[in-house]
């Protein structure tokens, strides 16, 4: 037993000559500062609470209805597309494509929907401030479902099954609701109730973090040394955790990483700049009439968000939970693999960054082993639970 530990010790030291780290039972000697930073990436899962701006959030009837609508092709103008066409459960609620394919190719990469309950802003540009208002956007967008409020409202009023679900969720028949937009917003809220149930499970990293928190070195040692070294780069010289903060590995805000924002030769994606503009204009934002919370408790960010020039070309910091499952990467799907993302950061060209922007991203010049380690670490944030099944199989469930 002792010999085995010694042996592992020698091996580790031999494998890590330049790290100068004493490995004890296969756990790196993290400094107090590093341990504090590691702790900030948990615990997981986060506490769940209903969304006060959505009166049907967390309700069983709404969740079931939302699941059905999410895969309902008739919601679309063409009758051939649904949310599930791009947010494919088996692909961790993304599509594996460079850019989403709806009625047309959209400008951006399809994000996964895991942990959507917890975001402050939705979309790469944060143009929506709630999950329900974000769920309305693709219904109306010409390139996505290309539908209209009239189309959605009529479908709801005329189809017995959908009307039955509406009655069960809202306590009245959709035929009694004369305003099309009201029904459209209700559909956004029902879709949100369903998506709020999509939460990533615990990962190898979470087991490691909690073992460190308990002081259980034996359990912590089950987390591979490459993953631990990658973690150390992530919170240390890589500076990654300055933007990819907290239990979801994102600060929920917007930054420029120098990824091109040209969508074609002569067209640019203004990112956050246009996102804030659209947010402020939208009737569906949390300051508008459709927020179900009279106190507007979740509207602080919307009320105070500030549009400045540097927002041009900024995009949302994506969560890294399950990122290993959802390539291609970045807002425009420009980078194919995690390895290329890490290389991108390693070789980043400071000239491509905003001249007046952050002095944060510098070429890291990582060694081949450091690149490998960082990838192993990001992979360790994956829950590998992609076997989600529809609860009804799609057959009528309301009569």
């Amino acid at each position: 037993m002792i010999r085995k530990i010694l042996c592992i010790g020698v091996l580790t030291i031999a494998a890590l000559p330049s790290w100068g780290l004493a490995a004890d039972n296969g756990v790196l000697d993290f400094t107090a500062g590093e341990l504090r930073r590691i702790m900030q990436h948990g615990p997981w899962p986060q506490a769940w609470s209903p969304d006060p701006s959505n009166r049907v959030s967390g309700q069983r009837a709404a969740i079931d209805f939302g699941e059905q609508l999410f895969f309902e092709n008739r919601l679309s103008g063409s009758g051939k597309l649904s949310c599930g066409s791009c947010h494919v459960p088996e692909r961790d609620w993304s599509d594996g494509l460079v850019r989403g394919e709806g009625m047309q190719t959209v400008d951006r990469n399809t994000p996964n929907l895991v942990n959507a309950r917890y975001h402050r802003w939705y979309g790469w540009d944060g143009a929506a401030d709630s999950l329900w208002s974000q769920s309305i956007r693709p219904i109306l967008n010409d390139k996505e479902l290309a539908s209209t409020p009239q189309h959605v409202a009529q479908l709801l009023r005329k189809d017995a099954e959908l009307a039955c679900h509406y009655q069960r969720t809202f306590g009245k028949s959709p035929a009694t609701v004369t305003d099309d937009e009201t029904l459209l917003v209700d559909m956004g809220k029902v879709l949100a109730a369903f998506q709020e149930t999509i939460v990533a499970a615990r990962t190898a990293f979470d087991e490691f973090r909690d073992a460190l928190a308990r002081g259980d070195r034996a359990a912590a040692a089950r987390y591979s040394l490459p993953a631990q070294r990658g973690l150390q780069i992530f919170i240390g010289k890589g500076n990654c955790s300055t933007c990819h903060t907290g239990p979801r590995f994102t600060n929920g805000e917007f930054h420029s990483t120098g990824v091109s924002f040209f969508t074609s030769k002569d067209r640019v994606d203004p990112g956050r700049y246009e996102g804030i503009r659209q947010l402020k204009e939208s009737r569906f934002n949390l300051l508008g009439p459709y927020n179900d919370d009279p106190a507007r408790t979740t509207a602080v960010a919307t009320r105070h968000v500030d549009l400045v020039q540097r927002n041009f070309g900024e995009f949302k910091v994506p969560s890294l939970r399950n990122a290993a499952l959802t390539g291609p990467y970045m807002h425009n799907g420009q980078i194919g693999t995690l390895r290329e993302v890490v290389r991108y950061y390693s070789e980043i060209n400071p000239d491509r960054l905003h001249a007046d922007g952050e002095q944060l991203l510098k070429p890291l010049k990582l060694s081949a082993q450091e690149v490998d380690d960082l990838i192993v670490f990001v992979e360790s944030l994956t829950d590998f639970r992609t076997n989600w099944k529809r609860s009804t199989g799609g057959e009528p469930s309301c009569t």
Partner: protein, 135 residues
């Protein structure tokens, strides 16, 4: 023992700067700053400023001898090392004479942030900066 207590007391007394006036704000986490014609105290709510979450500041201001109370008070925060500020513009509300509340602040990255307070009166602005390190 007694000597040590005395010594600590003496140091504490020496360490307390003499402010021109005493703002009406106290309790854990309160910081008091000299700001030209004014003395300003602030306290965050919640008391420990959270990373990446919105928080508020309670602010109290008093005028040093002879100065009028400010017409307006503002607060902003900057990250000098990254050369950017907040993504949010705080709103400030006067709650009573010399008492203000700023809502909607959010520090979205760990590191050093500078709070910048500006107090305006009679066509002049007094400004004071205070650093906080957010983890």
């Amino acid at each position: 023992m007694t000597k040590r207590v005395l010594a600590v007391l003496a140091i504490a007394l020496l360490a307390v700067p003499a402010y021109g006036c005493v703002p009406e704000l106290s309790g854990g986490g309160t910081r008091t700053l000299e700001a030209g014609r004014y003395t300003l105290a602030y306290r965050a709510s919640p008391p420990e400023i959270p990373l990446g979450k919105h928080f508020s500041l309670e602010i109290a201001v008093c005028a040093n001898a002879g100065a009028p109370l400010p017409d307006s008070v503002s607060v902003d925060a900057q990250m000098p090392e990254h050369r950017h500020g907040m993504n949010y513009k705080p709103s400030i509300r006067r709650e009573a004479a010399g008492r203000y509340r700023a809502d909607g602040l959010m520090l979205h990255m760990p590191g050093r942030w500078d709070f910048i307070f500006e107090l305006r009166a009679a066509g002049r602005t007094d400004r004071v900066t205070q650093s906080e390190v957010i983890e």
